[in-house]
């Protein structure tokens, strides 16, 4: 009995000591090593074709640093054009209501800014697929004279002399060194982990909601006539195709051919995702169609059928009745994900 009285307090003291030492270790880990994150892969989706984070471990601190950079105007020459100036959260990170976005010194871009979501599944970025890795994508807009019009040297100097960034780089990468590789990796941690998967369509697929009759009819039509290119669940197969748009003689943009140098790629552009379609208007690589109705009409009446590289599935255009078009539009409206546009996780503040 006496023995027990002595042993138990001793045991408690020992356990407490062990507990304290563990607590200190855990505390150290939080301040020294960034917190690992997992890329969200929604149920039922294919795995991304490659792991974009294979050489860039996704962490909370890296994501937060990337987010700060994404919203920071100092990445542009005059401070007015952060990434977010063309990629607005309320527009699913596209440019709302703009065929071309505004760049430095009252300039225009020459292609429509796409929404940024589900990029981890996208093998090649940009309308022409010229960018082969998400980490190197920001180099394009950052240096383009009609976009952010800056350069890495200027941007990195600004970040290094800032009071906040060295600490944030240390938290994300272990030391306060600021270089282009770390900046680009942090941006990729933010943009690559934006995943859009909470539209009504997704909820129907998960059994949490059901389509109206019009939406269901539209979905059936979509699966019959559109899905070969706009493949579920990402609503694109990421291929490059000529969908028969008349060449804009001002832009003379021949798409993928500029990258591959292959004339068979003339006028081919990446099949865009139809997710968040209501927010990403206007449509096509040059934003020539302002409404979904016009975009659908392109496929039923306006495809230029004489272009040699026209996609074989579009040779005879697509027969769509007015009733089918209305149903299709009802379905396409279900692809809007307001969880994405309202998420504080992706918001500036």
């Amino acid at each position: 009995m006496l023995q027990r009285r002595v042993v138990i307090p001793i045991l408690i003291i020992i356990l407490a000591a062990i507990g304290t030492s563990y607590a200190i270790k855990a505390g150290d880990a939080v301040t020294l090593a960034p917190t690992p994150l997992q890329l969200t892969i929604p149920k039922g989706w294919p795995a991304p074709p490659k792991n974009i984070y294979a050489n860039n471990p996704l962490t909370e601190q890296g994501f937060q640093l990337g987010k700060k950079l994404f919203y920071d105007g100092r990445l542009s020459q005059d401070g007015n054009f952060p990434c977010a100036s063309c990629h607005q959260q309320f527009a699913a990170f596209a440019s709302y209501d703009h065929d071309f976005s505004h760049g430095f010194d009252n300039s225009f871009t020459t292609r429509n800014a796409p929404g940024l979501f589900n990029l981890a599944w996208m093998p090649l970025l940009h309308w022409d697929g010229g960018i082969n890795h998400i980490e190197v994508q920001p180099l394009g807009p950052l240096t383009a004279k009609n976009e952010m019009a800056s350069n890495l040297d200027t941007v990195l100097k600004r970040l290094r002399t800032d009071t906040a960034y060295p600490k944030l780089f240390k938290a994300a990468f272990g030391s306060p060194i600021i270089n282009s590789q770390r900046m680009l990796k942090a941006l990729a941690q933010f943009t690559g982990s934006i995943v859009s998967y909470n539209s009504k369509y997704d909820k129907v697929k998960r059994g949490e909601a059901s389509f109206t009759l019009n939406e269901q009819n539209g979905y059936n039509f979509f699966k019959a006539k559109c899905e070969s290119c706009h493949k579920e669940p990402l609503f694109t197969d990421f291929s490059f195709r000529n969908n028969g748009l008349m060449v804009n003689s001002f832009l003379n943009d021949f798409g993928r051919m500029r990258i591959t140098g292959d004339k068979n790629d003339s006028l081919k552009f990446k099949v865009p995702s139809l997710r968040n379609l209501t927010l990403t208007f206007p449509y096509m690589h040059d934003g020539r169609y302002y409404t979904i109705s016009q975009a659908i009409d392109h496929y039923r009446t306006a495809i230029v059928t004489t272009q040699p590289t026209l996609d074989s599935a579009l040779k005879n255009r697509i027969a769509i009745s007015n009733a089918e078009k209305n149903n299709l539009m009802s379905f396409l409206f279900t692809l809007t994900d307001t969880t994405l546009t309202k998420s504080a996780r992706y918001a500036e503040k």
């Binding site: 082969n132 890795h133 980490e135 190197v136 890495l152 990195l156 270089n179 282009s180 590789q181 680009l184």
Partner: protein, 258 residues
């Protein structure tokens, strides 16, 4: 007793680290590479000097950079030594001299890749020599510029009479990567002169002077005159033709054993 055991482990640890570091450096020699960019043997002076190409077009040079990587020294055993990436930049003297460590032996050729291997063209943001800040990474069509040669010439009809060759492309039919092999012994030295063979001794440094003669940029197998071809800044057929020419730029000028 316990103290003794701890002491024993401590000594063991000390011995093991020491012997490890010794074996790590003892059996290696060092090769120092010195790249000398010339026009017909005359070292290049940027901006101020005028040169003449095989078509009689006079020109000055503003910028000259190229990547050297995957250096190997070959003998019967084909010993690969280093993957390192070196951006040789005429405007930066330090970039033209660099060293690698190497197993001792006698070698029959010096080999390297002119450019950046395809893997590193598709693996995202890189650092050091491959940092996009070096102005050797295309922002519109991901991939490295393997060699960059810019200047001006009255023969050019381009703005400010400039000529500009940015040679890149790493895959499929646009691939401009060149494996360059410089055989040994070098035949242009008198026999018996020190340096005609490449022998690496442990803990010693051998300096290899490699000359790049820009006069070969313009010809053989493909004629590239400034008047007809002042610019090449995209991957493709023309870039491949120029790369065929520049693959013959290099020769070992001398080898000096210290």
């Amino acid at each position: 007793m316990k103290k003794n055991i701890l002491l024993y482990y401590f000594l063991l640890l000390l011995c093991s680290t020491k012997s490890f570091s010794q074996s790590g450096s003892a059996d290696k020699g060092t090769i120092q590479f010195v790249f000398i960019n010339t026009v017909k043997g005359v070292p290049v002076v940027l901006n101020d000097s005028m040169y003449s190409n095989p078509f009689g077009e006079s020109y000055s040079i503003k910028n000259l950079k190229y990547y050297i990587s995957h250096i190997t020294l070959a003998n019967a055993l084909k010993t690969a030594e280093k993957e390192n990436y070196q951006l040789v930049d005429e405007s930066n003297p330090e970039s033209k001299i660099f060293s690698i460590s190497c197993k001792p032996g006698t070698y029959t050729s010096v080999n390297f890749l002119l450019g950046v291997d395809s893997l590193h063209n598709v693996s995202g943001a890189q650092s050091n020599a491959l940092d996009p800040m070096n102005g050797m990474f295309w922002t519109w069509n991901s991939g490295y510029i393997m060699a960059k040669f810019e200047g001006s010439s009255a023969a050019s009809s381009q703005v400010n009479n400039r000529f500009e060759y940015h040679i890149g492309g790493f895959s499929g039919m646009n691939n401009v990567l060149k494996n360059i092999s410089l055989p040994l012994p070098i035949d242009h030295l008198p026999t018996g002169q020190a340096g005609s063979l490449l022998t690496i001794h442990p803990n010693k440094t051998v300096t290899i002077f490699i000359e790049a003669d820009l006069n070969k940029w313009w010809q053989q197998p493909n004629d590239i005159s400034i008047v007809t071809t002042p610019v090449c800044t995209t991957p493709g057929e023309l870039a491949k033709k120029i790369a065929d020419n520049y693959s013959k730029l290099f020769r070992i000028k001398n080898i000096v054993t210290q």
